[in-house]
């Protein structure tokens, strides 16, 4: 998996800017996200041609009133495939980091709070997972369990656990020795209460920022796996598999690879933009320490 850079550094945003001027770029990103999500969710009810119906007489057709974005190498409607592909990309892109943030976040917080043998075990097993070549792991799982969206999501989710665990553990380590935790203990708070009520709200912020980044990365990784034929089984489309199929006709119809690539690029960019902006405006710690 790609290396994820962790942007926890605090940007100095003056309070005046907070909430008032989010910037045109942010709203453009939000607009694009709404469009993509709406199209993905509403794809079955939109007046789109079927994404799997082949029309051999209209292969690689250019833009027309019938096929707005033309057709692919097998005469399937490109717009419909793009819309249905968004469903897969977003589903995998959201569900896999949810698996990662839930398991990784919980493991990381427990490891950072309780330390000791449990931490050594958790960190050690994550190191093993990180050292395992992710592509081989994905290949092995797909070979054994078969190609499906569920398997793909699980593989990517498991692969994202170590990154989330590290973020959660690092944040918890610094927070657990802070005096408000000791004060809560002195007032008789239980471990569960300290973890959930005192530490979780603090750890949630870097985790959320990292989650949005994770979504962006997973969408790209899913694209890469689908491009390699390890992703969703045909004829289901995903953006990655569309780029892969478009590669065969790059010389005659480069748009077949570029249109899904642009959609993916814009979506990933939007996730990153929104993630950064939300982190900057919701972090109450800024200007405090």
């Amino acid at each position: 998996m790609a290396t994820l850079e962790l942007p926890i550094q605090e940007e100095a945003v003056s309070p005046v800017r907070k909430g008032r001027r989010l910037g045109r770029l942010f709203w453009a990103a939000v607009g694009w996200m709404i469009l993509v999500f709406a199209v993905a969710i509403l794809a079955p009810v939109l007046p789109l041609p079927s994404p799997t119906d082949m029309d051999m007489l209209e292969r690689r057709a250019t833009f027309s009133a019938l096929h707005w974005l033309g057709t692919d190498g097998l005469g399937r409607d490109e717009l419909a495939r793009l819309a249905y592909g968004a469903r897969v990309s977003l589903l995998v892109g959201l569900c896999a980091p949810i698996i990662g943030v839930t398991i990784g976040g919980a493991l990381g917080m427990l490891a950072g709070y309780f330390r000791g043998r449990f931490e050594a075990l958790a960190v050690g097993s994550m190191d093993v997972l990180l050292a395992f070549p992710p592509l081989i792991f994905a290949l092995a799982v797909v070979a054994f369990l078969g190609q499906s969206i569920l398997n793909l999501t699980c593989v990517l989710g498991v692969l994202s656990i170590p990154a989330f665990m590290r973020v959660a553990r690092a944040a918890t380590l610094t927070l657990a020795r802070r005096e408000f935790v000791i004060a809560a203990q002195a007032l008789g708070a239980s471990h569960a209460r300290i973890l959930l009520r005192e530490l979780l709200p603090n750890v949630a912020l870097p985790l959320l920022a990292f989650f949005l980044l994770g979504v962006a990365v997973i969408i790209l990784v899913e694209g890469a796996l689908s491009f390699l034929g390890l992703g969703v089984p045909p004829p289901t489309s995903s953006w990655g598999s569309m780029i892969g199929e478009g590669r065969e006709s790059l010389d005659v119809a480069p748009r077949l690879a570029f249109i899904p690539a642009i959609a993916m690029f814009l979506t990933v960019l939007s996730f990153n933009l929104i993630g950064d902006t939300l982190r900057a405006i919701t972090d109450p710690r800024q200007g405090a320490l």
Binding site: R115, G116, R178, E179, F180, I182, A183, Q185, A186, L187, G188, A189, S190, R193, R197, E198, P201, N202, L205, P284, R285, G287, A288, L289
Partner: protein, 331 residues
């Protein structure tokens, strides 16, 4: 030890394993505190004050080894089960720390922190807890308490934050409040206000209090009894008026001399205690203070003075060469 005491610390020692060897942070300390009384623990940084308070709360770092007994309300906290310890803390112990920025949760509003603590301890419903929170904030002298409930710690000033921390500590109606350098991070005018607030709430609630500080000026007039700590040991212990009138330990004298005087001429150099406290991983054979003490002789170097009673049993000190002259109250 007297059975009527709320807290009695008996022969408590805390050892911390470090890379440089065993560090004895607290060395066989005996203390006692009655209900509603105030004890000041004074000493310079690294002399074991905070470790002692953590030992009382049973909140030492995991690696630390604790020996001795901490009797609180008839129970030995050292041998309590974790669950009964937790319940005991919830009912009767609270602590206020030095830095109010780190003692409040930065991402929760004042209201959330205060109301949740109230709900947890007093089993109140949301609305009642909200009203109690406003009352508590008003009691600790915070103007416009309703408004403050929705604010985050970083939106308040240092003094306000410390007041909130005190309100949270008071919320569970503790029998014992440990204030660990409660005013060190605050400026001088706020210091007096916070100390007055603590004293007022203490009288009102009849709770016992331990004030930990490096400033003898803070404990003068605000405590019933003072224990002076040096290198993990209590080196002098006396009722506050007795201590200030008639101190015996050269270290106490040196601490008192280090307080800036208002009537001193401008630009007078502050008298500092020369040298540094001994390395706690390399304990000295004799008195821990002898390298810095102007009265020290060969006996101090080779033999450790015991903590013994002076004129009265309440006044104890550990020194072979006690100061005989009345030092006089300089603060």
């Amino acid at each position: 030890m007297n059975a009527s005491k709320l807290l009695s610390v008996e022969d408590v020692a805390v050892d911390l394993p470090t890379a440089r060897g065993n560090l004895r942070a607290v060395d066989r300390v005996d203390l006692a505190l009655g209900a509603g009384r105030t004890l000041g623990i004074v000493g310079e940084s690294g002399c074991g004050k905070t470790m002692l308070s953590r030992a009382i709360l049973q909140l030492l770092p995991k690696k630390a080894k604790l020996s001795g007994r901490v009797m609180f309300d008839g129970q030995d906290l050292v041998r309590c089960s974790p669950e009964s310890l937790r319940k005991l803390r919830a009912r009767s112990l609270a602590v206020v720390f030095q830095d109010p920025m780190t003692s409040l949760n930065p991402v929760l509003t004042i209201g959330t922190q205060l109301i949740e603590t109230l709900q947890e301890h007093l089993e109140l419903d949301g609305a009642t807890a909200g009203r109690r929170a406003v009352e508590l904030l008003a009691a600790v002298g915070i103007p416009a308490p309703e408004q403050r409930l929705t604010q985050y710690p970083h939106q308040l000033s240092g003094g306000m934050r410390q007041r909130v921390a005190i309100a949270i500590a008071l919320s569970c109606e503790p029998k014992l409040l440990i204030a660990d350098e409660p005013t060190t991070a605050l400026d001088v005018t706020i210091q007096a206000q916070i100390l007055d607030l603590l004293a007022r709430e203490q009288r009102r609630r009849h709770m016992a209090m331990i004030i930990i500080t490096h400033d003898l000026g803070v404990v003068a007039g605000r405590t019933d009894e003072v224990a002076v700590m040096y290198a993990g040991r209590v080196v002098e212990r006396a009722p506050t008026p007795v201590l200030f009138k008639n101190m015996h330990m050269p270290y106490t004298e040196a601490l008192l001399a280090a307080i800036p005087k208002l009537d001193a001429a401008p630009h007078t150099a502050l008298p500092a205690i020369s040298g540094r406290p001994p390395d706690p991983t390399r304990p000295l054979k004799g008195c821990s203070f002898w390298p810095r003490c102007r009265y020290a002789d060969g006996r101090c170097e080779s033999e450790k003075p015991r903590l013994e009673g002076a004129e009265t049993a309440a006044h104890q000190f550990a020194c072979f060469h006690p100061i005989k002259l009345a030092a006089g109250v300089g603060v």
